[in-house]
């Protein structure tokens, strides 16, 4: 068998981005092409509209409860910035502490290396089954596919991830990955794929959740290896943290003999005390709860309690390339709460799949292109109206709109030949810097009034290149006279 070797992914300042051909950071289509299909799906839009507005309301309620939300948010931002400025030191300290408490630390340059490490660790235990806690990092690197390719059975245990896995689907939201499915669709997936499921299963969410409980219970009790991600890792103590709701995380972190945690290097925080900030910011921003049902922390191995073998895989996969971008590095502060998805007018309409990456929504529109190199996700920085709602809700105050603009500029600069847009703007610049040309152009635009036939906007069906604007936007009919003309008429020149 010959494997096709994908062309090497680009580098940023000589630092490699996430490699091609592995993982889920790149879509098959550009954002506008993928979104076109999603926009036609009425069911999807109804599901998304309901979900995002519900979580928005809950988040706003519990955030308003805290009189010091602004101070917590600023502390969260500053903590992340300070951590990144000494990231190497904190990672080395984390390694020392985890090792001192009986854990084994592995380093992975990219997705391929991380997948190889985890596969090797699982195989060394002699088991063929792996239970998994929902984790963005392992989705990013395509770990499930790698483990399955090695002949291992992987069981996602978060309810939404289970729905996605059984439906052979892709997650569409960071927090609630099956948000695009409604109860009837989920019932159909369960009835079709869960062996021995009650044929009278209804689409009541409680019944569906109980079917998942029954399906996974035996697996938890016999599992010998679990794979998790991590929300935070405390450098000074080597304490790992997983935040969850269902208890599937606790099952995976507690019952198996071996635990393998895959964590992006940006998840480290310097001190235990720092969690007093993040454990307030994250649940309220994420699920809109004062606190999520379960938060587990552990440092290395505890005799007589939980896994007796613990491996921590520290993953780069393009993160150092993001760190090298002085404007964009703020995206590494993300704590994966998904508040920015829920407020984004573009996400609400286009849905998570349109972004083509496991990181959808506003944060995905900046993080994915930086992890892969902008040219591998060139349409994503444009998948935004720059309204700024994402910045307002971000619990660590990531200035997403500024990074989007920065990446758009980077994409434009990367073009070897001028684009139609660049040519148009160059022409416009010329016209606008010559008063005579500008007045001529304004007068010429009045021809548009003929096409409009008295309507306030021009028709959609105009010939190219104007059609690339009018296909999805209204072009107002030019006024009878320009501002300057009416000024001259009323006030004299």
């Amino acid at each position: 068998m010959t494997a096709t070797v994908p062309p090497k992914a680009p580098t940023f300042l000589g630092l490699p981005t996430a490699p091609r051909g592995v993982g889920h950071l790149r879509g098959d289509q550009s954002f506008p092409d993928a979104a076109r299909g999603a926009l036609r799906d009425g069911q999807l839009r109804a599901n998304l509209g309901h979900a995002t507005s519900t979580i928005r309301g809950k988040r706003a309620g519990v955030v308003a409860e805290l009189p010091d939300w602004g101070q917590l948010r600023e502390a969260g931002r500053a903590l992340k910035a300070a951590t990144m400025a000494r990231l190497d030191d904190h990672l080395e300290e984390l390694e020392r502490q985890v090792t001192a408490r009986g854990g084994v630390v592995h380093w992975a340059r990219d997705a391929n290396e991380a997948n190889e490490i985890v596969t090797r660790l699982v195989q060394a235990t002699g088991t063929s089954e792996v239970v998994k806690v929902k984790s963005m990092a392992t989705q990013e690197i395509g770990l499930n596919e790698a483990l399955e390719a090695a002949g291992l059975d992987v069981f996602e245990t978060d309810l939404a991830e289970l729905i996605v896995q059984l439906g052979e689907d892709k997650p569409s939201h960071i927090l609630v990955p099956a948000i695009h499915k409604n109860r009837a669709e989920i019932r159909e997936i369960f009835a079709r794929t869960i062996p021995g499921v009650d044929p009278d299963l209804t689409d009541d969410p409680r019944q569906l959740a109980m079917a998942a409980r029954t399906h996974l219970r035996e697996r938890f009790l016999r599992a010998r290896v679990a794979v998790s991600g991590a929300n935070f890792a405390v450098a000074e103590t080597g304490t790992l943290t997983v935040v969850e709701s269902e208890g599937n995380g606790r099952m995976c972190l507690t019952l198996p003999e071996t635990l393998i945690t895959v964590m992006g290097i940006e998840k480290v925080v310097p001190t235990w005390r720092d969690l007093e900030v993040f454990l307030q910011l994250l649940p309220r921003s994420s699920t809109g709860e004062r606190m999520n049902p379960y938060t587990s922390t552990w440092a290395g191995v505890t005799p007589g309690d939980g896994p007796q073998e613990f491996h921590l895989v520290l993953l780069d996969n393009g993160r150092t390339a993001v760190l090298a971008d002085e404007v964009g590095r703020e995206a590494l502060h993300c704590i994966r709460c998904s508040a920015c998805l829920n407020v984004c007018p573009v996400y609400e309409r286009a849905g998570g799949h349109s972004y083509g990456s496991v990181y959808p929504g506003p944060i995905g529109a900046v993080l994915s292109p930086m992890l892969t190199g902008v040219e591998d996700n060139a349409s994503l920085p444009f998948a935004s109206s720059l309204c700024g709602a994402c910045y307002d809700v971000c619990p660590v105050a990531i200035d997403i709109p500024s990074i989007l603009v920065h990446l758009r500029a980077e994409h434009v600069e990367a073009q070897e030949r001028p684009t139609a847009e660049a040519v148009a703007f160059r022409g416009l610049a010329k016209v606008m810097s010559h008063p005579r040309l500008w007045h001529l152009a304004q007068r010429a635009s009045r021809l548009g009034r003929l096409i409009a036939r008295g309507k306030p906007t021009l028709p959609n069906a105009l010939p190219p290149p104007v059609s690339s604007w009018t296909r999805s936007r209204d072009l107002p009919t030019p006024p009878k006279e320009t501002f300057v003309e009416s000024w001259v008429r009323e006030h004299g020149s």
Partner: protein
Amino acid sequence: MSAREEVLSRVRQALGADRTPPEEVVRDYRLTDGRPAGAPALLELLVDRVEDYRATVLRCAPAEVGATVRAALDQGLGSGWSAGDVVVAPGLAEDWRPAGCDVDDDRPAVQLADRAASVTAVAVAVAETGTLVLDGSPACGRRALSLLPDCLVCVVTADQVVGSVPEGLARLDPLRPLTMVSGPSATSDIELQRVEGVHGPRTLLVVLAG
């Protein structure tokens, strides 16, 4: 170059030789709730927040914990339960334990799944978020004990109740395996409709003494 050296050298390269010094973190958020641990208003706040998660709180005098634990088990399991249905943390105070019930030992953790209910103490409770923290000490038991039985009874004493998250974390040892519990296991993955009890205990009962 090993992966470790390479990743660290990439970090150093990304930050540059003249990296900006880390900015100072200002902690001007509330470090305390302002009320001392166990203040009556904090106990009421804890009750309100825990019940908001659809857990049940039973309040009692410090001397009545044993009887209240039994009352909690009546609620969680129905009045027909027997001592064999219940397993308690090894360090749980003698007079809090239902008579004759099983004490967790070094049996394989998965065997705890056979029990209907478990009883543990907590290390600290945070009123503002309705959070109980178990720290793996003998009184709280190992993590599987508060996970596998379908009904969990936690005994909280008034002096363990603090107002805010920062106060709670300051009382904890980050080297111990900690479990922070805020209500029963729950999911909102299907149309955002909350369902209590997925993989963790479906029923959470809190005995608040004092």
